[in-house]
């Protein structure tokens, strides 16, 4: 049989192709010592920028197609998520350029792995087939394990990498077994096909009650739960965030979580209404647990990286509200929330990097005492990010929470909304405590802060503008998210 190359429309794959070309260019340029370390970072940013531009271009053209025999979707849903990932990547790369500085360590692999992880995320969001989702997940996870242990001279970083690796691989095995069971029950791994097999006409089919299928779904939830750190599968997150380089903690908390939810939403939002009601019950329960446990434990933290880790767990809980609602509004509000969350969380980690002294990083919340007047710019950024994380108007965080709660009300999950509201109040306590520490408390000792690196400030300014812009004009993004969900329904 002769080899026939399948007919592929390469122009639709521009974002992915640009990322792959960028990483090949970085790989080659990394070999020359004459290239400055920062150049590699800028190449990454330019590459991600072009990919972002082509994603937006495809999104505005209203592309809705599949490639590679329906394995790969290029529709407004996957393109919207591409934008989330690429914005996160650009912000993290901007912050990284100043964080890594121009030490003599080779930085090429760092940016390469960030690009590879981004490619994995894009595959997860665009995968129309469980096997593609799995491979994207692995591509992303393997890159992140290495990035988490990037500071080889630091024992904490290596151990963070190991812990992440062992628990991540464990979760992947659950995910894979889940795929196997779903494949056995449904006879296919194509996601839309599986969902269509769940019902015959208006009636639910036998598959929707097949124990094998439900067990597979259960294992998929466990696997996803580990990857996006929802309670009770969250224990790795604080340890990994604390030990990993701060830029990587920011990266792990943003894009990969969005990617996990991208795949989660594709499978579950359409499938949940067709599954027994207990499945929705499980999601609702997990959402409540995740929000509450994340927020309550965050109160007790004295280390700001750990506090942000628990806060990011809690935020996964808010996204789960949108998932539990399982209606188009729930899907679009979860997408909107993920975008906002990525920007504000990377911003918050960026401020932690900004507060570095010559001795290293200041990670204790008490170190932030008195910064409000001594470092007004830093304190202003931190206040904005924290207010947004807490969900105060007119920041983007408020808009995100509002739409998520609204979708849950439409789906009549009133308890979930009440839980979410109580949790927002709890979270305001620990976010505001940092703000109060900065403005009201006197510092215990004089700390010598490093001067602000310009790329970090650029990154933070971009994040701040994004947060305020979305906070004031939410329709900019919400319309995109809603049309993405609408087009998927047609």
């Amino acid at each position: 049989m002769p080899l026939e190359i399948p007919d592929i429309n390469w122009s639709l794959l521009m974002p992915q192709l640009v990322i792959v070309s960028t990483l090949l260019i970085v790989l080659v340029f990394d070999m020359f010592d004459a290239i400055s370390k920062k150049t590699l970072g800028w190449m990454t940013i330019v590459g991600a920028g072009i990919a972002l531009w082509s994603s937006i271009d495809l999104l505005q053209a209203g592309t809705d197609q599949t490639q590679f025999n329906e394995m790969f979707r290029i529709d407004s849903y996957s393109l919207f998520f591409n934008i989330i990932f690429l914005v996160s990547t650009i912000l993290v790369a901007l912050v990284s350029i100043s964080y890594l500085g121009s030490g003599d360590k080779k930085q090429g692999p760092y940016y390469l792995l960030i690009l590879l992880a981004t490619l994995g995320m894009m595959l997860m969001a665009a995968g129309n087939e469980l096997i593609i989702v799995f491979l994207g997940l692995e591509l992303m996870s393997l890159s992140l394990y290495v990035l988490a242990s990037y500071f080889r001279e630091s024992p904490a970083s290596s151990e963070a990498g190991m812990k992440y690796l062992l628990l991540g691989a464990f979760a992947s095995a659950f995910f894979l077994y889940g795929i196997a069971l779903v494949y056995g029950a449904a006879g296919t791994t194509n996601i839309p096909e599986i969902i269509s097999k769940l019902s015959v006409g208006d009636q639910l089919s036998l598959l929707s009650e097949s124990p094998l299928f439900l067990a597979g779904i259960f294992l998929l939830i466990v696997g996803f739960g580990f990857k996006v750190a929802i309670v009770p599968f969250h224990q790795w997150a604080p340890d990994v965030y604390e030990g990993a380089p701060t830029t990587i903690a920011a990266f792990i908390s943003a894009g990969p979580k969005a990617a996990g939810f991208a795949a989660f939403l594709t499978i579950f939002v359409d499938a949940l209404p067709k599954l027994p009601t207990q499945a929705t019950g499980v999601i609702v329960l997990l959402a409540m647990l995740t929000m509450t446990v994340g927020n309550v434990i965050a109160i007790a933290q004295t280390n700001i990286k750990r506090m942000l880790a628990y806060s990011s767990i809690a935020h996964a809980g808010y996204v789960m509200i949108g998932l539990a609602a399982a209606n188009p509004d729930g899907k679009s509000s979860a997408m909107l929330y993920l975008f906002i969350y990525c920007v504000m969380n990377i911003g918050a980690f960026g401020v932690v990097i900004m507060a570095r002294t010559a001795d290293g990083e200041n990670l204790m919340i008490s170190d932030y005492a008195g910064l409000g007047f001594r470092k007004p710019l830093l304190a202003m950024f931190m206040t904005l990010m924290l207010l947004s994380l807490a969900g105060f108007p007119p920041t983007a965080g408020f808009v995100g929470k509002l739409y998520v709660f609204k979708s849950a009300v439409e789906a009549r999950h009133y308890w979930l909304v009440i839980f979410g509201a109580i949790n927002t109040a709890i979270s305001a306590f620990y976010y505001l405590r940092v703000v109060v520490t900065m403005y009201m408390r006197e510092p215990e000792e004089e700390l010598e802060f490093k001067p602000y690196p310009p790329t970090l400030v650029i990154g933070l300014v971009l994040a701040a503008i994004g947060i305020l812009l979305i906070g004031i004009l939410p329709s900019l993004l919400l319309d995109q998210a809603q049309s993405a969900v609408q087009s998927a329904l047609l």
């Binding site: 394990y145 290596s158 151990e159 062992l166 464990f170 894979l176 077994y177 196997a180």
Partner: protein
């Protein structure tokens, strides 16, 4: 020979792997147990593929093997680097732990 037996076998293998990950503390043994879990999933894929009469399930196994190989390469690099730290930085701790 009904295919059910293969699935039962794969479920047993998977659970043994899970037990190993949850109760053992040696990083490399945990890694081996994860390999057991992946093999269990692979066995399930092959059996199901046989049940459906297609070769697709076998392809998934092919991909999973590549993933497993990549995972082991990276995993052992990380594990060895952690070991170097423990050995040079905190010898007592390494000695206090028993295999």
């Amino acid at each position: 020979m009904a295919l059910q037996y293969y699935l039962i076998l794969s479920a047993l293998l998977f659970t043994i792997g899970v037990i190993g990950v949850l109760v053992r503390r040696n990083a490399i043994i945990i890694f081996m147990c994860i390999e057991l879990m992946l093999n269990a999933a692979n066995l399930a894929f092959v059996a199901i593929s046989r049940n459906l009469g297609t070769a697709e399930g076998q392809l998934f196994v092919f991909f999973v093997m590549a993933v497993a190989a990549a995972e082991v390469a990276i995993g052992l690099a990380i594990i060895v680097s952690v070991f170097k730290h423990r050995e040079t930085i905190n010898v007592d701790e390494v000695n206090s732990l028993k295999g």
